[in-house]
Symmetry: D2
Subunit: 283 residues, 4 copies
Amino acid sequence: MKVTLLIHCPDQSGIISSVTQFFHKREGNILYLDQHVDQEAGIFFMRLECEFEGLAPKLATLKNEIQGELAGRYHMEWSLFQEGIRPRMAIFVSKYNHCLYDLLSRFRSGELEVEIPFIISNHEDLRPIAEQFQIPYHCIPVGKSNKAEAELRQLELLKAQAVDFIVLARYMQIITPRLIDAYPNSIINIHHSFLPAFAGAKPYHAAFKRGVKIIGATSHYVTEDLDAGPIIEQDVTAVSHVHTVRDFIAKGRDLEKIVLARAVKLHIARKTMVYNNKTVIFS
Amino acid sequence: MKVTLLIHCPDQSGIISSVTQFFHKREGNILYLDQHVDQEAGIFFMRLECEFEGLAPKLATLKNEIQGELAGRYHMEWSLFQEGIRPRMAIFVSKYNHCLYDLLSRFRSGELEVEIPFIISNHEDLRPIAEQFQIPYHCIPVGKSNKAEAELRQLELLKAQAVDFIVLARYMQIITPRLIDAYPNSIINIHHSFLPAFAGAKPYHAAFKRGVKIIGATSHYVTEDLDAGPIIEQDVTAVSHVHTVRDFIAKGRDLEKIVLARAVKLHIARKTMVYNNKTVIFS
Amino acid sequence: MKVTLLIHCPDQSGIISSVTQFFHKREGNILYLDQHVDQEAGIFFMRLECEFEGLAPKLATLKNEIQGELAGRYHMEWSLFQEGIRPRMAIFVSKYNHCLYDLLSRFRSGELEVEIPFIISNHEDLRPIAEQFQIPYHCIPVGKSNKAEAELRQLELLKAQAVDFIVLARYMQIITPRLIDAYPNSIINIHHSFLPAFAGAKPYHAAFKRGVKIIGATSHYVTEDLDAGPIIEQDVTAVSHVHTVRDFIAKGRDLEKIVLARAVKLHIARKTMVYNNKTVIFS
Amino acid sequence: MKVTLLIHCPDQSGIISSVTQFFHKREGNILYLDQHVDQEAGIFFMRLECEFEGLAPKLATLKNEIQGELAGRYHMEWSLFQEGIRPRMAIFVSKYNHCLYDLLSRFRSGELEVEIPFIISNHEDLRPIAEQFQIPYHCIPVGKSNKAEAELRQLELLKAQAVDFIVLARYMQIITPRLIDAYPNSIINIHHSFLPAFAGAKPYHAAFKRGVKIIGATSHYVTEDLDAGPIIEQDVTAVSHVHTVRDFIAKGRDLEKIVLARAVKLHIARKTMVYNNKTVIFS
């Protein structure tokens, strides 16, 4: 059995020693340990992978013991994941297909260790791609009058399929607190600019107008503030005066799909932690 | 004799043909020609290098003929530079020394084909570096009460030494319209962020707070809008949660000096043109 | 009618002037002109886009006149392409699917202005992807005994479908002179290293062993020397000691597909010229 | 008192737990811990920073106890450094000045926490820069006949000044085993290519001839195999057909100085470990 433990708690002396001893006593072999201290905020973060050979403790037992022996003493918030259990990922799309193609190709190639119970869209346009990759596709149109209702239907589907996290693969609707509260730090968005520059609509047009020499894409967890959630991953590419807005958009597509895929992989691998509207990304 | 011609004018048919014929008739050999059309704005840009062997026309004659045969017909704005005449560059600094060290080292190595008549600073701190590199150093303190007066003294020095362009190598004072008007598109600033993100003061602190995964630096021509002038050059570097604000600043120093140096070299080589608050940067 | 003209010839005075006049006289509007002189080799290169409104010359007439009025005089090698005529691209694959998925997704999204008459593979593995995207798939196994025969069958298919260029999307067989001669500068390969480092087999393993801090991918035209043809495009990504060979391979997949797609797009847009085993890539 | 501990040893269960307990028992506060396991080689690496408040153990005592309680049990190779003790760095140069200017500017700005007892060169050319920055400069010419003798004189100077490590800032002589053996993993070189491509002489010329689209620089520890030592840091920059060899050299200068400076900083911060001709670079 192999487990991954994520911890954050107020920084104090002795945590690493206590945690490593905890696993050592249970004959676990620590394969990976990374820690980080935010000196300013006084917070300690840790990610640890531990392998148990032979007689491994039961997961429930292990969780109880972590709570009993470690969590209380150090005021830890923590989570424990067992390797081999694939998280369930829903994809939300609108009309742009490049991120969807990219995610589904990676999924079919075995690159993403998830289950994808379904795709939700507010349009019918991308149904053929879902069919091509044999993933269920639910079209839930969103208009001014039915926004709340549409969201209820989304939530129903998400619950029915026990979805763990959501990927907005260029989904062009604003997510409301109801959904965000149901999926805290579990909705991954791709924004087509180097945030915080050019938040909001039409960032490539804005970047073109400003005459920037580099454009970017940003993947972040969705929070109530539009395009202001904790950043998971960013990347950029050079542009010049020869490029039109259309060129920006074409170059941006490649950025968007790469940056989104990296963020999704980090999330799946439990390498992201969120605090103070920022992320710790373990290596 | 070798000359560089920069042109911009309303886009229309036949310009390239007319201009190349103009030089061909005078037995000039075109070494380099690059053109760009901003389709949206309908503006044509061109940079051309031409070499005359043997009996070259006089520069003044050439200028007259360009005006007479080309400029009027196509409503051109143009400038002609003769190779070998070094532009005169003033450097403004405050207390940070990394950009100054970098520029002066490049200058002494022969990398920058300019004259540097002097350095101006609002502080005494960097005088030793000026002395080390044997460049005159004028300390003109700037306070609330004497800002206008200080600027007049700067202008006097700039005129007395026939300065062509100014490099703000982390000069921590806001430049006022009086100076900007005297040096249109000729004051190069380095801002320590990936503009338009984090304009204004303390960009590294703001970037740290926002939790970005990439930081940048931007070199631009100074206009009346703070940090909003035409961008000449940008570059970025990756950061992560392990980096403190101090690390951002240290990494940023390397970005700043490289980006500023590139912008200065482009300006010296007459490879920059400005329009609509953007730049065309020729290769 | 819009045409693109590519020229290379010995460098000499007056070429640009002659060529631009040639189009100006025919009431063509030059939309784009880029030229390059390799000073060392004394070769002149040019790419020009010209639009004819109203009464455009016939393509055949234009070709005759270019040959008659320009090519002879300047010893030009040249080619002329009419916009709107899609080149026909064959894809060769083996077992890796990421580049194939990427190319077909881009094709279906309208990003690649080509026809894809078929995919050739030496294995059956990727047939489902071809079917998923509804592209004909020919499996031509290649063994030691039937290599020549297999190639003849490939050539037959290529001719029958009038294929213009070939993309080796991680095709794991060496291409022989017979095919190379039939498609000079028209077979695009993606090699999974930063060439010339790690040419040949298993470059990620070699890079890992050497302890490099950056890995790359290189797209090039295939010549008789393995992995030594003219480079079209390269890109890199950072790695560190935490990455295993498997991580290199995973990171490399993203590089490979992006670099290959960029090279294919440049080729389609007629922005590549080859000489002295190098490329000129127009902007 | 703050110390940094570097360890490598055969991988086995319980090391992290033992080491962290060791410091915890002595009331040390672990500020930073990073570990790495090379699964293939079965080697465990660790870097740990620990702060002792109040009654800190003596360094000698601590060293004895590490040896007694930890090192033997786990067959560790280890080193312990006390913060605040600046390593002594010698710089070797020939005629190129950009890396020297860069290192000395950083040193004077307080960026490099070292002592620089002297610069050694085989030429007189850069003496004025040494004088400008007030660092002793020893010119030791190296010819065919006096190579061994010259090296002896270098060694004498290095010993007399208790030099800890050497930076070859574009020093154009091959270092022989005598010097390498005296400074194992302590001679940092900058090579002006993306190694292993273009090892040896004139890499920019070779890169130009090959038509690469990206050039690089590599900093590595010097071993007996030329340009084949453990890589510390690499970086790259894009080039195109418009760039001449001279442009490659100019762009390369900026790469070289940045890459060398980063490597030197990593070495000073004790963030590098060497094994199997590779490096582990801690964050």
